[in-house]
């Protein structure tokens, strides 16, 4: 089954060197983010006069602090970080597929409609988490139908029906 693969060799314990390297990467990511944030802040307009604090003062102060802490994180040599458990490559693969499907879901929501799009992604999640295809599909259909009815009739909020169902209805 698709889901069972997720749980085989799902995690491994990192060595001290790997943890240290990852902490350095974390730190450098924040240094780069701080520089980017500062550059965008410098390009901001002044706007209406605000006295001693302009629209860019506060963001620049935040960027400076983030830069400093990012550097500190990168150069710090701290022993324990509790981040020993890290998903294996196989699990990362499944996570990327899941994230890709969620992005795809957002992009096609208006076209496929809430009912169809959500049923499909929920079925994928259910199967990935060790549910059988039939059970997951059935449960997803029921959940989505319940939510659609709840939102449309009880809360009076319209969820997109989608071009396909719209076309069928018309």
């Amino acid at each position: 089954m698709l889901g069972n693969a997720v749980y085989e060799n799902a995690v491994y314990e990192e060595s001290g060197n790997e943890m240290s390297l990852r902490r350095r990467i974390d730190g450098l990511v924040f240094v780069v983010l701080a520089v980017f944030y500062a550059l965008v802040s410098l390009g901001l307009e002044e706007g209406i006069s605000r006295g001693v604090v302009s629209s860019k003062t506060f963001p620049l102060a935040i960027a400076a602090l983030l830069f400093f802490l990012g550097l500190l994180l990168a150069i710090q040599n701290q022993g324990s970080d509790h981040s020993k458990i890290w998903p294996s490559k196989a699990v990362w693969g499944k996570i990327f597929v899941f994230i890709f499907l969620m992005v795809f879901y957002a992009l096609v929501l208006d076209y496929l409609g809430f009912l169809l799009a959500t049923t499909l992604i929920c079925t994928y999640v259910g199967v990935s988490l060790r549910g059988t295809l039939v059970k997951s599909l059935l449960a997803s259909c029921l959940i989505c139908l319940f939510v659609q009815v709840l939102f449309v009739f009880a809360l009076e909020i319209n969820l997109p029906l989608g071009s396909i169902i719209d076309g069928l209805l018309n």
């Binding site: 749980y7 995690v11 604090v53 710090q76 959500t118 959940i143 909020i157």
Partner: protein, 497 residues
């Protein structure tokens, strides 16, 4: 006396039929959520938040609903801790030590009932503390100007960063900075300048609080669970005799009372919260009453003390939230964001401007704790069945409610994409041990910090001396310094939480 009259008026609102129904529903949701490992009250509040908007509930009812989920989850936590040795959140980890030992001896019923009664007593007494201290503190808080607020918020950031970062202060502060950065996206109301919108209209009004919360706590949690090796729960211990004896209750009574006092005041401190409260209560009781070295082997007092403390702390956490407008924990941070979305601004004037909300909220907690006691004693067997809900069924429900919640507010696919981005970020932060609570605090308080900084410097004509000009500012600078040193002290004395 005036407080009692106001509390009485609060009861008249809390006992309206709608609010009674909300209290019962919130207690059931809270207990259920509290039992499920990995999913806490914050996830439930994040997911339910858009629905409360759609239902058109008044702010007082939303407050009652979210508070019920919050303290209800403390009750629920104990069930999975005792029966399965799987604490729903870290605050119930201490309960699991002796609670699960009792369960293994076939005395789970006793452990569950003493935990329910201890939570009830702790909760009820804490409501009185809340009423007394909220009134007193609100009189003090009126003296706060922009400089005092600025320093208070700096303290809240350092406190929550230092205590929620699993001993890693830098990561906690970085997380808070990320939240502040997210808060700067959109139109700056002081200058009218659009900041960090990158030309897209979707970001002109800023990043929606709901999108951030559902992203980090809804979708982030889903990806986290998706990535974990899940061992299905198929076996639970026998519950055994439901009630403890009168002698056992007498033995536990003073542990409950002592833990209530320490738990409440620890809960008031920003960043401390229920986890530290329960650890402190356990350690204090171990030193005071454990003469035969029974703690750790299945002692009812070791279950009663942390349960009283963590429920008291969860009520104590409402003091900084409501009276100072500064949340002390991630759940109260989300509640603050929700209240602001409903046009209710917690702070020193909250008791004057929103007296009905405060007093009905306090009164509803009496009712809520009673409902929880009634639910937890006879229905505990039924609740344990919820532990058997498989992940393949539970997670799709969370996914659906998360996406539909975001879509119902904005009707925009862009916000769903943003939710996914925040979900991925939330997952990465969990994996790399960056605490999420400071980020949420940063998002909510970032704008307030900037506004107060601006105001204070305008009053002082640019002089930073204003931030050291009063006793209150010095008091909070001292607390800030202490909170920065605290992680190193905890490490030195080998205290983990």
């Amino acid at each position: 006396m005036e407080e009692l009259t106001l509390l009485w008026q609060g009861f008249s609102i809390a006992f309206e039929f709608n609010n009674i129904v909300i209290v019962v529903i919130s207690c059931v949701i809270g207990t259920t959520i509290g039992m499920l490992p990995g999913i806490g009250p914050i996830n439930a509040i994040a997911i339910l938040f858009p629905i409360t908007f759609s239902l058109g509930l008044p702010a007082s009812s939303v407050m009652i609903l979210f508070a019920g989920i919050y303290y209800g989850s403390q009750y629920g936590n104990s069930i999975s801790s005792i029966l399965l040795n799987v604490p729903g959140t870290s605050s119930a980890a201490v309960t699991a030590i002796d609670g699960h030992q009792l369960a293994k001896k076939g005395q789970a019923g006793k452990a569950l009932s003493i935990s329910a009664v201890a939570s009830f007593i702790g909760g009820i007494i804490s409501i009185f503390w809340l009423v007394i201290f909220a009134t007193w503190l609100s009189k003090l808080a009126i003296q706060f100007g922009p400089a005092e607020y600025f320093v208070l918020m700096i303290f809240a950031f350092t406190a929550i960063s230092s205590l929620s970062g699993e001993g890693h202060l830098i990561k906690g502060i970085i997380s808070a900075l990320l939240g502040i950065m997210l808060g700067t996206v959109g139109t700056d109301f002081q200058s009218g300048v659009e900041r960090f919108t990158f030309g897209t209209l979707h970001l002109v009004d800023g990043v929606s609080f709901i999108v951030v919360v559902i992203g980090f706590y809804g979708i982030g949690e889903v990806i986290e669970i998706f990535s974990q090796v899940v061992s299905n729960v198929t076996k639970t211990n026998k519950i055994g005799k439901i009630l403890f004896s009168l002698k056992e209750f007498k033995e536990s009574f003073f542990s409950i009372i002592r833990s209530n006092v320490s738990g409440f005041f620890v809960g008031v401190l920003p960043g401390a919260g229920a986890t530290i409260a329960s650890f402190i209560a356990y350690n204090v009781e171990k030193r005071l009453v454990d003469k035969k070295d029974e703690f750790g082997k299945g002692d009812l007092r070791a279950v009663a003390a942390p349960e009283s403390a963590n429920n008291s702390a969860s009520i104590g956490a409402f003091i900084p939230l409501l009276i100072l407008g500064v949340p002390g924990s991630e759940t109260t941070a989300v509640m603050l964001g929700s209240l602001l979305s409903f046009g209710v601004t917690p702070g020193p004037l909250f008791l004057n401007t929103s007296a009905d909300i405060f007093w009905s909220f306090a009164a509803s907690m009496f009712l809520g704790n009673l409902v929880l006691l009634v639910l937890n004693l006879p229905l505990v067997g039924l609740f344990t069945k919820i532990l058997l809900i498989p992940k393949w069924l539970l997670i799709p429900i969370i996914v659906t409610l998360s996406f539909v919640g975001v879509y119902s507010i904005s009707g925009s696919y862009f916000d769903i994409l943003l939710t996914i981005v925040f979900g991925v970020l939330g997952f990465m932060m969990r994996r790399t041990n960056f605490p999420i609570a400071p980020l949420i605090l940063g998002l909510i308080l970032g704008n307030l910090i900037e506004t107060n900084l601006h105001r204070a410097l305008s009053y002082s004509q640019g002089s930073f001396a204003i931030f050291f000009s009063t006793g209150i500012t010095w008091f909070f600078w001292a607390l800030t310094a202490f909170s920065l040193v605290l992680p190193f002290l905890l490490k030195k004395f080998k205290i983990k939480f």
